[in-house]
């Protein structure tokens, strides 16, 4: 089964390396890991999707909490949450097949974002399963290349992942270099 969790980490050099190193060292099987900025320039947010048992998911969480750069970690799988994945898929089509792709886009709420003589690029956002289904159909037509962002997630309503009340920002103002 897949388990997702959201982690707030300090936006500092080497943090992604520390997290990745931890997963490798403990042999955690990571399905996807995304990281990006948040509304707070000092913090980044990671969404981590792991393949395994709930016990493993708990171990991942507890191990992450031990890293001094990790400010907060919460599971998303056990609470109402929105998760999204984005894919860009280049499909080989001639003018005859193009309408078929556009029809599929309509159904899946995808978008054609580039049209060339013998291919189109389709963009789709949604939950993982929906994207998987879409890809499966496009495979029949012919995928040239594909890229996915990996899952990002957020708890619904008051299920927030924010720093603990005791969280103290580091005293000294630091230079912010985006070298995750």
């Amino acid at each position: 089964m897949k388990y997702s969790m959201s982690a707030l980490v300090e936006n500092k050099p080497g943090v992604l390396n520390r997290v990745a190193s931890l997963f490798r060292r403990r042999s955690f099987n990571i399905d996807s890991l995304t990281v990006g900025r948040t509304e707070d320039p000092e913090l980044s947010r990671m969404t981590i999707l792991i393949e395994g048992t709930e016990a493993v998911a708990r171990k991942v969480e507890k191990s992450l909490r031990k890293l001094p750069n990790v400010v907060q970690v919460e599971h998303l799988h056990d609470k109402p949450a929105v998760t999204r994945d984005l894919a860009l898929i280049k499909v080989a089509v001639d003018s005859q097949k193009r309408p078929e792709v556009m029809q599929l886009c309509d159904i899946f709420r995808g978008r054609v974002v580039d049209v060339a003589t013998d291919s189109v690029i389709v963009e789709i956002t949604g939950e993982e399963e929906k994207i998987e289904g879409f890809i499966e159909l496009l495979r029949q037509i012919g995928i040239v290349e594909m890229v996915r962002t990996g899952v990002v997630g957020m708890g619904r309503g008051n299920h927030t992942v924010v720093p603990t009340p005791g969280y103290k920002r580091r005293a000294a103002a630091r230079q912010h270099k985006n070298v995750l």
């Binding site: 390396n17 520390r18 190193s21 001094p68 990790v70 005791g166 580091r170 005293a171 000294a172 230079q175």
Partner: protein
């Protein structure tokens, strides 16, 4: 006050209470060494290899409870520290390592003596830092010491580029205590969990305490004794738990695990409640997990939440400082007479009381067990013993009883050969009032004997007791048991250790007979001005009994042969 980065480093170390550092200079750390000349309050121990510096800092930390500090240059200086850092990590020892780094401008260019030491040590430090700005120096050093000594203790590395050491900054030391952004202070256990635990404790018929390193790390020895006496609960110790409860205490049954007491392993398998206090269910302690302690519920108290349910599922898991959690337990405990359970364990103990030092009495040969048992007797069991890794380490744990905390220092988690001697130097310098013995094998000693020069220079009165069996004994034992006696690369030659000691002008003596052990101890007592070396030439073919083969069930131990069998085998051998 305007200071250089290097001066700020020493100012900060002073404020962290550091008066002793172990190190080795080199290009990228030269500014720090130059600035050191202005800070006479801090004594620098010049080691002969950077691994020794970290082991010494580690030994110092384990003996004193304070943070040990090691210093090295970039590149090879830093990589030489790696084994020492991993050793400290696996045994939760608070050590701060400071390394020089090539100037920030050339980082990443494969400059001379450049190595990515923060990258290398991510998995073996609690945390590490690459400083790129002198303005961050003060906070970083404060944070590093804070991380090393709080929560589950461990090593922290700070990598300081040469230009940061040279850069000038306004030195201001903040008054307010440092905190780490993610940190939650850990002390008392969750009340609901504590109550759930107390319910199990008060209703258990056959409870058993597994006391680990966490007892001494949290200074909970008194509380542990009170707890076990109050509930009449017997205690087993992990290797690093030795000293958690005095081994002469009637409720203390000794070590558990692979080479532990059979009665302790039996008690673990038969218990209806295991109380794991500051231990982590290492595979050397549990044997096969599928057959481990199936009859018991488990209460696991640890300061590290990630240890709960890591190897063994806990029915109640309490994250907290053991001392505080025990103080929560104690007022709620019922005094229950568990005489039947305790006498059951005593019965098991009787069946296993045939020991090598009885069966091998006066047959003319010298056995390592003789040496260790006699050392225990002759030194009143009151020394601070540092061991290396291997057979002698297990025999020490079996036959040298420790009554006080922090009197056995040994590399338990990583099993680092070469740890013993340098760690003993660190321990002696931290605790000059203790009589420090480094009990080492001929193999392990040869890994770090280069520190003899350091010990002499520092006048560190460490008594080096080499159990020389001309073999890598534990390797030989495994080959005998599990590899059909093919002794591949385990026979090992050594220099004449006494001649070697002469070269360093270290007083030395060689012992080949049991009768001479007392003389060697007397000899050691006569020489207190520096290290002393005693070579005990012991039997080659010797085995640490009992033994749980790796991966076997804890109660399926290879037991000690009966006395007659031993005598017979020896006749055949000679």
């Amino acid at each position: 006050m305007k200071l250089t980065g290097a001066e700020i480093l020493w100012e900060c170390l002073l404020r962290e209470g550091v008066d002793l550092v172990f190190g080795y200079p080199g290009g990228a750390i030269l500014p720090a060494y130059d600035a050191m000349t202005k800070y006479k309050q801090i004594h620098h121990v010049l080691v002969r290899h950077e691994q020794g510096a970290v082991h010494m800092a580690d030994g110092y930390a384990r003996a004193t409870g304070k943070v040990g500090v090691a210093l090295a240059t970039s590149g090879p200086g830093a990589t030489n520290m790696v084994t020492g850092i991993a050793t400290a990590m696996l045994d939760s020892s608070p050590v701060v390592c400071i390394t020089g780094q090539v100037p920030t401008g050339v980082i990443g260019s494969d400059a001379f003596q450049e190595v990515d030491i923060t990258g290398i040590t991510i998995p073996i430090t609690k945390h590490n830092y690459l400083l790129t700005d002198v303005e961050e120096l003060v906070d970083t050093i404060r944070e590093a010491f804070h991380i090393a000594r709080t929560g589950r203790q461990g090593p922290v590395l700070i990598d300081i580029p040469k230009d940061v050491q040279i850069a000038i900054s306004d030195f201001k030391y903040p008054e307010e205590p440092i905190s780490v952004p993610s940190e939650l202070p850990i002390s008392k256990g969750d009340e609901a969990e504590v109550e759930a635990a107390i319910e199990l404790i008060n209703s258990a018929k056959r409870p058993f305490i597994l006391a680990g390193h966490g007892v001494s790390l949290s200074g909970a020895e008194k509380e542990l004794q009170e707890f076990s006496e109050l509930g009449h609960i017997p205690v087993g110790l992990t290797l690093l738990g030795k000293g958690a409860l005095a081994e002469g205490h009637p409720l203390c049954f000794g070590m558990m695990g692979m080479h532990g007491e059979a009665c302790v392993n039996h008690a673990i398998q038969e218990a209806d409640l295991l109380l794991a206090f500051g231990m982590r269910f290492d595979d050397r302690v549990t044997g096969d997990l599928k057959t481990y302690a199936l009859k018991s519920k488990k209460i696991h108290v640890d300061i590290d939440a990630a240890e709960i349910n890591k190897n063994v599922r806990a029915d109640v898991g309490i994250v907290g400082n053991l001392k505080d959690v025990l103080n929560q337990f104690i007022p709620m405990m019922k005094s229950i007479n568990r005489g039947a359970w305790i006498s059951q364990i005593r019965d098991w103990q009787k069946g296993t009381s045939v020991r090598e030092f009885y069966t091998r009495e006066s047959n003319g040969k010298l056995y390592a067990v003789h040496v260790i048992r006699d050392l225990w007797k002759l030194t009143g069991g009151d020394c601070l013993v540092v061991t290396d890794v291997g057979q002698h380490q297990m025999w020490e744990a079996q036959y040298y009883q420790h009554e006080r905390p922090r009197t056995l220092l040994t590399s338990g988690g990583l099993g680092t050969m070469g740890f013993g001697f340098p760690a003993a130097i660190g321990a002696k310098l931290g605790k000059p009032e203790e009589s420090v013995w480094a009990i080492v094998g001929d193999g392990g000693f040869q890994m770090t004997m280069t520190e003899l020069a350091t010990a002499v220079e520092q006048k560190a009165n460490v008594i080096i007791a080499i159990m020389n069996n001309r073999y890598l004994g534990m390797v030989r034992q495994w080959q005998e048991f599990f590899y059909e006696e093919r002794y591949s690369a385990s026979p090992m030659g050594s220099p004449d250790f006494c001649l070697l000691a002469d070269a360093y002008k270290v007083p030395n003596i060689r012992v080949t007979k049991r009768e001479e052990i007392a003389d060697s101890v007397a000899f050691a007592k006569e020489h207190s001005e520096g290290p002393v070396l005693i070579e005990y030439v012991v039997e080659k073919h010797d085995i640490v009994y009992p033994m749980v083969p790796a991966g076997a069930a804890l109660h399926k131990m290879i037991r000690r042969p009966l006395a007659e069998q031993v005598a017979e085998e020896e006749t055949v051998e000679s």
